[in-house]
């Protein structure tokens, strides 16, 4: 029975509408007023929050298109997260895009498209919606990565991202086709039932299908060994885009992984469990070690985000091992995602703000930041140390639930992964601290850099402020974050 509940898709509609308005308005705006579109975009995302909050408060659940499109607490929570992340990225973008004076209208258009894609993703409950939403999320980003058209690095970032992207999409689609071939279903529920009724859970071809699908997600979340594009692309892309890539795009990958694994393939732990265990361990280890060698802040953040992806995969591995791991793992992943999104965006915001002033992302050039710009220095320290997982900054709770989700299984596999994660958490601290060290402990350069770039810094500061408040408050009262986790856990029956 197909009935469209307009409230349920109101958030997507608002974003889509904003997107169109941006496109239209952009045509008529004179060059120097282009930043109006930014305001519009910000307004749109803010507006889109309203129905999300309304529905979340009401606690309703809507199912449309034969169950292909579901708006439940899980979807709402993640829509909210995507919107907030999008909102922050927009704020971060304003000054950067303004200062570089490149196609502002299109920039926001594409960003909003990607945002729309990820919002749809949260509600998609069959492979078609999932695929389309994923592509909508990623496609605009291929272009945004190359947005600094004259910059060879940006071009390169874009092409690399694109090629790896389409390759993984191809592999994922091949996996989906196999899945369809085995089950004759595209909806997650149908696939789950087909697997159960036909006893396919141990079928090797199903395993191949699962692994192929995981490639697609692995690419999106940039987990080792599907992460190779990330450092280059992050480094080459305009930093606000990188921020978006490292947060929203990664989140989208995780959301896709969550719905597919928990709704379609909960019984197939035999395949995705070990695979994700390996990916988690490899991501943490390889990325953390690689990050130790980085001298470029954004590239360091790239490896950091790969490592964080590794941490976020840990609960999945736990979910496969423990009896009641699924719900625990889901909650943990969502909490980690929420906290990661905010703190990573905060980190990017600070880095971009500092980058404006310093004009370089080489860590050594950031020396003495704390002495001449203490506020920025403090923010830098807060976000980076939060990423490192130090109490009382929000990051600790993310790590905490992650450990919790893996230790729920008492078997050796779980304990070993926990130990690997623990050691990695320590290693990770080293490179985060290196940035802090440079900013605070090293002597400032003789000529103190001044912020000479044009463009408003207000939105950027607002983004930093919002992130800061969240990081501090959630760090002290993690119960706020568990609310998201609990709400999302409703996904698992």
């Amino acid at each position: 029975m197909t009935r469209i509940d307009w409230l349920a898709i109101a958030p997507e509609l608002v974003v889509a509408g904003t997107l169109l308005v941006v496109l239209a308005v952009d045509l008529f705006l004179p060059r120097e007023r282009k930043y109006y579109v930014a305001a519009l975009a910000v307004l749109g995302t803010t507006l889109a929050m309203v129905p999300v909050i309304l529905m979340a408060v009401a606690g309703d659940s809507y199912s449309m298109f034969d169950g292909s499109y579901v708006v439940d607490q899980f979807a709402l929570v993640l829509k909210g997260v995507f919107l907030v992340a999008g909102y922050l990225v927009l704020l971060i973008s304003v000054s950067y895009v303004e200062s570089d004076r490149f196609y502002q209208g299109e920039y926001y258009l594409l960003l909003l498209s990607s945002l729309l894609g990820s919002m749809v993703l949260t509600s998609g409950r069959d492979l078609v919606v999932l695929f389309v939403a994923l592509e909508l999320t990623t496609g605009p980003l291929f272009l945004l990565a190359g947005w600094r058209k004259g910059d060879l690095r940006s071009n390169e970032a874009s092409l690399k991202f694109f090629i790896i992207g389409v390759l993984s999409t191809g592999l994922m689609l091949y996996g989906m086709s196999l899945l369809f071939g085995l089950t004759g279903e595209l909806s997650f529920a149908g696939i789950r039932e087909a697997i159960a009724s036909a006893g396919l859970a141990s079928e090797p071809v199903l395993g191949l299908a699962v692994l192929l699908i995981l490639v697609g997600f692995g690419f999106k979340v940039s987990a080792v060994p599907f992460h190779f594009w990330a450092p280059d692309t992050y480094q080459g892309s305009p930093p606000p885009v990188t921020a978006y890539l490292s947060v929203s795009s990664k989140l989208a990958g995780f959301v896709a992984m969550l719905v597919v694994i928990y709704l379609a393939l909960p019984a197939v732990t035999e395949f995705w469990g070990p695979a994700l265990w390996l990916m988690a361990a490899a991501s943490m280890t390889v990325a953390n070690l690689s990050a130790l060698r980085q001298t470029h802040l954004i590239r360091l953040l790239a490896y950091s985000s790969v490592a964080q992806a590794g941490f976020m995969l840990v609960p999945f591995a736990g979910a496969a091992i423990a009896d009641d791991g699924l719900a625990e793992g889901l909650g943990a992943t969502v909490i980690y995602l929420v906290i990661y999104a905010v703190m990573n965006l905060g980190a990017f915001a600070v880095v971009i703000a500092g980058g404006r002033r310093i004009g370089s992302y080489e860590i050594s050039e950031w020396r003495g930041l704390g002495s001449y710009a203490p506020r920025q220095g403090v923010m830098l320290a807060v976000f980076f140390l939060s990423l490192a997982g130090l109490p009382p900054l929000a990051g600790w709770f993310a790590k905490f639930v992650m450990f919790r989700a893996i230790l729920i299984s008492t078997g050796p596999a779980g304990v070993w992964l926990a130990v690997i994660a623990a050691v990695n958490a320590v290693v990770a601290f080293y490179y985060y601290a290196r940035v802090v060290k440079s900013a605070w402990f090293d002597k400032a350069p003789d000529v103190i850099p001044e912020d000479t770039e044009a463009g408003p810094t207000g939105p950027l500061n607002l983004a930093v402020g919002v992130s800061l408040v969240v990081v501090l408050v959630v760090g002290a009262f993690p119960a706020i974050a568990t609310f998201f986790g609990d709400a999302a856990a409703a996904l698992v029956p």
Partner: protein
């Protein structure tokens, strides 16, 4: 005989096409050729889907639906890809993907 055999043949065809696509993507220097390799992969997927739909005969013709979406999205992707390649070609006078190593440590 019948559906089983034919299905298997289609699947094998798709698999071969897919592997060729992957291979092409890995080894061709020219970016346009890489794009074509991707098309090959997607074509393989589509063949798979259509063949399997023929096997399952689902009421909503699910396989075809997905295949149509894939074709559509693939077109968009190629558009994006070509745009990027064009951009690079303008800047570098070359569209060879193996020359892109500015960010190699």
């Amino acid at each position: 005989m019948g559906v089983e055999v034919i299905l298997n043949q289609f699947l094998i065809l798709a698999a071969v096409l897919f592997v060729m696509g992957v291979y092409g993507l890995l080894v061709r220097r020219n970016a346009v050729m890489v794009l074509l390799a991707v098309e090959l992969m997607l074509a393989a997927v589509n063949i798979n889907l259509v063949a399997m739909e023929a096997f399952w005969q689902t009421t909503e013709a699910l396989g075809q639906i997905l295949a149509v979406f894939i074709i559509t999205v693939a077109a968009a992707e190629v558009g994006i890809g070509l745009a990027i390649i064009l951009l690079i070609f303008r800047n570098r006078r070359s569209a060879n993907v193996d020359e892109l190593d500015l960010m190699r440590w």
